[in-house]
Symmetry: C2
Subunit: 371 residues, 2 copies
């Protein structure tokens, strides 16, 4: 990404060291337009209070004039209101164009803080410190930031690359089990959609990964970041269709989340069910051998993840949300479908009847229920 390139650092117990690293970055960029500091705002939430404090202490030790703000918990905080809280804090510091926003938390904190950074003073520098597996392997890399709109997830947003992604695997220690497993869904996604070798290693190490073994996790997280960074480099602003491959399972997942009501499902759970539907759809339209679906779903199940939407939602409601998805083109449905393990592509103009059939099939509904 040229001058907007940045480093992804993966370590264990490395939170406090971030301040010194940023001080070095600030020194290196002091004269240029990418100037950092001297002020920094740490954004966290109730779950990451301890980590946010450690980062803030490190920043202070690194010579920054630091301040902190904690967002309310959960997906409901991914709103313009949360963004306005950060704007207010930045304005009161007062922040200038070198003031750095440091997001310490999961995807919500990163997305909200990153969007505030993207739009405050037309863009201030930011750094992301993901503390959930989902954020580490997915949202922290790639520069997509934003908030939800009542009509759709992430409808309000921007592209704003962070200056650094700082991953401390020990922060996963305090993650609730359900959230951790939810992150594994995105890990499986990389395997199915982009890297058969990664998928093999996930199968081989499913148990150590499920119990958060750092030794097993390190290379997997690094590989996922690498895969994501490579795709983002090829298609930063999602214009060529290449980046779309990262949305494998997501057209279904977004619709499930919207129909269920945000917050009911964790994102990774919806993605797992979404991948199950997408793989079924791929098999149904004859684009993918059934073996891919079976291996994928078996691995998801070993990670304790769902392989079907829970509840019998009206297929019509799911379809309606899909048509409003920001990745839809003029209301036509588009899905990322696998063709073999480690390869997937965007498929345009998928027949709605096939989608409806998959939604029924996956619940084991008798065929006559299909419209």
């Amino acid at each position: 990404l040229g001058p907007r390139g940045y480093e992804i650092v993966i370590g264990a117990g490395s939170l406090a060291a971030l301040g010194h690293r940023l001080r070095d970055l600030a020194r290196a960029t002091a004269a240029g337009s990418l100037r950092l500091g001297p002020r920094a705002l740490v954004v966290g939430d109730e779950n990451t209070r301890t980590y946010a404090t450690a980062v803030l202490d490190g920043l202070t030790a690194g010579g920054f004039a630091g301040d902190a703000v904690l967002l309310r918990e959960g997906e409901t905080a991914k709103s313009l209101t949360a963004v306005a809280t950060i704007y207010d804090k930045l304005a009161s510091m007062p922040a200038d164009r070198g003031t750095m926003v440091v997001a310490v938390g999961g995807g919500v904190v990163g997305d909200v803080a990153g969007f505030a950074a993207a739009t405050y003073a037309r863009g201030v520098p930011w750094v992301v410190v993901p503390t959930t597996l989902l954020a580490m392997v997915d949202s922290a890399v790639g520069g997509k930031v934003g908030v939800n709109h009542p009509r759709g997830k992430n409808l309000i947003g921007a592209f704003h690359q962070p200056r650094a992604v700082w991953i401390d695997l020990t922060t996963l220690g305090t993650l609730p089990e359900r959230e951790y497993r939810s992150g594994l869904a995105e890990v499986v996604k990389y395997g199915v959609a982009l890297d058969a070798e990664l998928f093999d290693s996930l199968e081989a190490q499913a148990e150590p990964l499920a119990r958060r073994d750092t030794g097993a996790l390190g290379p997997v997280v690094a590989r996922c970041c690498e895969l994501k960074a490579r795709v983002v480099e090829e298609d930063e602003q999602e214009t060529t269709g290449r980046r779309a491959v990262l949305n494998y399972g997501h057209t279904f997942a977004h619709a499930f989340e919207a129909v269920a009501g945000y917050g009911r499902w964790l994102h990774g759970e919806a993605v797992a069910a979404g991948m199950a539907c997408a793989a079924r759809l791929a098999v149904r339209v004859g684009q993918c051998p059934p073996d891919v679906e079976h291996r994928q779903n078996r691995l998801l199940a070993r990670f304790g993840l769902p392989t079907r939407p829970d509840g019998h939602w009206l297929a019509a409601a799911v379809l309606e949300v899909m048509r409003t998805d920001k990745k839809a083109v003029s209301g036509r449905l588009r899905f990322v479908l696998p063709s073999r393990l480690g390869a997937a592509a965007l498929v345009e103009r998928v027949d709605e009847r096939a989608v409806i059939a998959v939604l029924h099939e996956i619940h084991g509904d008798p065929p006559h229920e299909s419209p």
Copy 2:
């Protein structure tokens, strides 16, 4: 600006033709990532209702599925609330990434609609149809969009280049006199800060320009757009300091507007007073011959524009706002100061005492009142 380049079209009575031009643009880009249409949302306000309708009719005739939303009048509408109104409308259409936002109005409408376009679905295409002189020569060109924060003007914003700038000079016919003259302040700014020849021609044609003679206006508006476009090309995201030259008079102006309360002054009026202060400051610190200040202020007066802030605001209050200005670096004051007619540059670390002295001097205060 490479693929983000766009055309600026200046005409008279050309509103309805926009739809056909955009249809051609849409056809040319149908296959690519810069796809336009088939939906379009026209954003206007109460003042531009007629023009917005003409544009909407043209879009419909051009084959677009058009819709419209009118914002509340005035600067108070330049808020996140106004942006949310547009988000809601876009979500209800529903818009997709090809849906075009067409802003028909002055700077407020352009900034608000442009910011909504910049941040909806991480950026949808937009076109700006400026209907005030200020918007034509200033805000419509350059891609700066955004809204105000209680703590500062334009604190929330983004860079988002429009696909086209469509100027119909006949829309100036309905502009209130005070607003029209306010626009002339920015025209004078281009002359003083960037183009001595333009300044000469403004002096020579002050009367036809003051009475909105289209023949005199056409070349002047074109020249201002050209100057602005050139500066923006050199420094799109305001990183090299080059683009800062466009802010001649604006450090003072923003502070005056904030201290007076937004809406009390028109932007151009504040800029006129701001240029008077900046020229005085330049003369005071020995960087500029007094003749520049005199010719500038004489021309501003001929256009019925103020050459001093009205009211004796506390210099301390003005300075406090300046320190929070998003162009300030770590609270240090920076001003764009002229060195001769047609040339100005960013001056860092200006002595606050000189600024205070200028604020007193310009009101004719006796020197002992300075702190």
